[in-house]
């Protein structure tokens, strides 16, 4: 095995907010995603090294799950939520409806995810289209703070904050993992647990 942790993230949000472009941008424009037709999901992979708080290097195999358009017809396959360790919740800064739907996505997510307070980064995408913006940064931050989410303004077109959003999410998930992991289990069996008391408090919901 050439990694210490297999980490699965799921990109969520209304159709058209730029989820696929976002993941495509992060994986350096590599198109070779794998599509699993039985559940209608698509994923891309990337390997990276994560530095823990005590300076150790962990090899991460990151899987980024994409909804492949099924959200146009239906609520997502629940397997999607259950197996994800962290969530990128996207809305389109130029589309008010996609921002209003964030609450519904959060409800769905909390119902089906591995726990009630999973790590989520809210991304206001399409920040390059400043002249068409209808959601102010203040309004988005207010929502993010209310629900305890991290918030970043991203652009899948220019790449602004795309890698940052995934790094911030990875950091949150790894901190949770470090705090809850049972050291006796093998690396690939390590899992996440909720509500452990010794999770280091995340510094702030603002990373900018």
């Amino acid at each position: 095995m050439d990694y210490d942790y297999l980490i699965k993230f799921l990109a969520l949000g209304d159709s058209g907010v730029g989820k696929t472009s976002f993941l495509y941008q992060y994986t350096d424009g590599v198109f070779n995603s794998r599509f699993i037709s039985t559940v209608g999901i698509d994923f891309r992979e990337k390997k990276l090294v994560y530095q823990t708080m005590n300076g150790r290097s962990q090899r991460i195999h990151l899987q980024l799950w994409d909804t492949a358009g099924q959200e146009r017809f239906r609520s997502l396959t629940t397997a999607f939520y259950r197996d994800s360790m962290g969530f990128l919740l996207l809305f389109d800064l130029t589309n008010e409806q996609s921002f209003l739907e964030v609450r519904n996505w959060l409800d769905q997510l909390r119902t089906h995810a591995y726990c009630e307070d999973p790590d989520i980064i809210l991304c206001g995408n399409k920040s390059d289209l400043e002249d068409r913006r209808v959601i102010s940064e203040y309004k988005a931050r207010e929502l993010a703070e209310k629900y305890g989410l991290g918030y970043l303004e991203t652009s899948a077109a220019t790449g602004q904050n795309v890698a940052r959003a995934i790094e911030v999410l990875l950091d949150r998930v790894m901190r949770r993992m470090e705090a809850t992991v049972d050291k006796s289990v093998l690396p690939h069996q390590r899992g996440l647990r909720c509500h452990d008391t010794d999770i280091p408090p995340s510094t702030s919901s603002c990373y900018c």
Partner: protein
């Protein structure tokens, strides 16, 4: 009413006509003529809808620009009231998304020499586990 011996041709002809309208965003609103104001039922991904107006609200709310479709099989049966039961197995692709398999079932109810869609059930063929 007797069994309609042309059920195969009616099934195939209807499916072709229905999707020609559905897949063209300009013509999609004309689908309203296929449904009855009160006695048409639709189950769309588990959502129960009754009546042409509500059915059209659902169909026109779907958020894609273009749709490509490949029909694998159309299975039809005549019904004892003169109607036709149709089951479609196919794949559809919306915009640049990955293609998904789907199943759609129709019941055509005869009125004189014509038909309307009395029942319409749609599901993407997606499962909860890998």
């Amino acid at each position: 009413m007797a069994l309609n011996p042309s059920y195969e041709a009616i099934g195939k002809g209807f499916v072709q006509q229905y999707y020609a309208l559905f897949d063209d965003p300009v013509q999609r609103p004309n689908l309203i003529n296929m449904y009855n104001t009160e006695s048409s039922f639709m189950t769309f991904e588990g959502l129960q809808i009754q009546g042409a107006i509500k059915i059209m609200e659902k169909l026109t709310s779907l958020s894609f620009q273009k749709i490509n479709r490949i029909i694998t099989a159309i299975d039809s049966q005549p019904m004892f009231d003169g109607g036709v039961l149709i089951n479609v197995l196919g794949r559809l692709q919306t915009d640049e998304d990955q293609p998904h398999a789907y199943i759609q079932t129709f019941v055509l109810k005869a009125i004189g020499t014509s038909f309307f869609v009395q029942h319409d059930i749609f599901r993407l063929a997606l499962h909860d586990t890998v």
